[in-house]
């Protein structure tokens, strides 16, 4: 195994191998010994380029801890839910921090690079940063960094102090994505250990208990007139376009908007018993003054 070298060292080695390459490219040769040296240099350049790519990508490790994962197994629906919400939160934060607001899909796509027991661990990598954008920190690092800061606040019992101010400064898609991610972690059993190592940032470790994640959901949604509820009930289709679901519980019936990223999960769980997280916004019509309620589904799982 090779050590992770500083980016500057890799770049320096690439520069020297490149300078050597420039010399021989201008001078064709058929001599087998000369060709052997040149091929070794080409091989080294390929290895260095790959090393550089790895060194410019941050790494985020999520470990699900608790009795439910002691056999080093996790249900695919829970795992995909957590990873899917992590991806959409990352992309939403990333997009909101991009000056143009436009993002190529691959530049904000996380990659799953490893899984390991312990109790159940996944490692995802951020996309490699462009070399000229490493200072002060690549956008991908900044985006994950924001998510981690909220987790740290929740772990320290400070969700109520930190999250509302953060939420107030965000666009709605960013906020809802973060609420969905926190809601997914709140339904995980036990706790989630998060280790983040960005390209230019020191390693951070957070242990988020499900109660901490739940506090974070409530703190993020805690605007006047907004409420987050978790309900268990029977899932039905309410309306096709725009998509809405109907959720019948023992006491109530909710009709909620469905965001695009949850459509597949709705189809999968339709007509079954589900646990749903809903955001309920109480609004007053600015023209008539009449009250209105807007409900949106933000998370859904099998009950």
């Amino acid at each position: 195994m090779k050590p992770v070298r500083p980016i500057e060292h890799i770049r320096r080695d690439l520069a020297t191998a490149g300078a050597y390459r420039e010399r021989y490219l201008a001078r064709p040769s058929g001599d087998p010994l000369a060709l052997m040296m040149r091929e070794a240099n080409e091989q080294e350049i390929r290895v260095l380029e790959s090393e550089l790519k790895q060194a410019t990508a941050g790494e985020l490790e999520l470990t699900l801890l608790g009795p439910a994962y002691e056999s080093h197994q996790v249900g695919i629906p829970l795992l995909t839910r957590i990873l899917g919400n992590l991806q959409s939160t990352f992309r939403a934060v990333y997009r909101s921090r991009t000056p143009s607001g436009s993002v190529h899909r691959e530049e904000a796509t996380l990659s799953l690079v490893a899984t390991a027991p312990g109790s159940f661990k996944v490692v995802v990598a951020t996309p490699p940063a462009q070399l000229d954008l490493l200072e002060p920190a690549p956008l991908a690092d900044q985006a994950i960094g924001e998510i981690i800061r909220l987790f740290v606040a929740a772990e320290e019992g400070q969700a109520g102090a930190v999250a509302p101010a953060w939420a107030a400064a965000q666009d709605e898609p960013v906020l809802k994505a973060m609420i969905r991610l926190s809601a997914a972690l709140a339904v995980a059993q036990g706790s989630t250990m998060v280790r983040w190592h960005g390209v230019n940032t020191p390693e951070q470790l957070v242990r988020l208990r499900k109660e901490d994640a739940k506090d974070l959901v409530l703190a993020l949604a805690g605007q006047p007139g907004r409420e987050v509820v978790q309900v268990t009930g029977h899932l039905e289709l309410g309306q096709d376009r725009p998509p809405r679901i109907r959720l019948r519980t023992a006491e109530d019936e909710y009709s909620a908007k469905v965001p695009t990223e949850l459509l597949d999960r709705v189809k999968e769980l339709l007509f079954g018993e589900v646990q749903a997280t809903l955001i309920i916004d109480m609004k007053t019509s600015p023209t008539t003054g009449s009250p209105d309620t807007d409900i949106e589904l933000i998370d859904l799982s099998e009950a």
């Binding site: 195994m1 050590p3 500083p6 320096r12 300078a19 010399r23 021989y24 010994l33 052997m36």
Partner: protein
């Protein structure tokens, strides 16, 4: 001869970017025994001894440049258990084994030395002065390896390279 370490614990950079000529015995004395024989230095030197022994058994005129953390008085390796010696071996072509498969075996061994001997070792064929391919040797050494060998030793705190001298090992 290996000069004394300077106040930074490094070999002073040579004014003309030349390596300090020395033997393996001097390296053992200065970089292992005189520094208290810490386990990592003992192990790295053993790997270097194994690699040089193998190469010299087939090409007795081969010579080496060594640089990196090992070529300092640092008490600890930069990369812990993953530390290696960084080197390039220069192999005079007129002394290459006559049988081609022996030459291939030698190169294979050098290229695998990071795993087997903990020496991250590149190779350069040395075409003699006046040879039509002499420029191949000069380009590899001057454009690539001298730059790397003189770039110095990584500071453990800042992780930046600090210019320092390097070693040229002859049999």
């Amino acid at each position: 001869m290996i000069p004394p370490f300077d106040s930074r614990g490094l070999l002073p950079a040579s004014p003309h970017g030349e390596g300090y000529r020395c033997t393996l015995d001097e390296i053992r004395q200065r970089l292992v025994l005189d520094l208290g024989s810490p386990a990592w230095r003992v192990e790295l030197f053993a790997g270097l001894e194994k690699l040089t022994g193998m190469v010299w058994s087939m090409v007795p005129s081969a010579w080496w440049w060594l640089w990196g953390c090992f070529v300092s008085n640092h008490p600890e390796p930069l990369f812990g258990d993953l530390e290696v010696i960084t080197a390039v071996v220069v192999v005079p072509v007129e002394d290459l084994p006559v049988r081609r498969e022996h030459g291939e075996m030698l190169l294979h061994y050098i290229q695998g030395a990071e795993q087997t001997c903990r020496v991250d070792c590149a190779f350069v064929f040395e075409f003699p002065a006046g040879h039509e391919l002499r420029l191949e040797t000069v380009d590899a050494l001057e454009m690539k390896y001298r730059d790397r060998a003189t770039s110095g030793v990584t500071d453990h705190g800042t992780r930046e390279l600090v210019p320092a001298g390097f070693l040229e090992v002859r049999p």
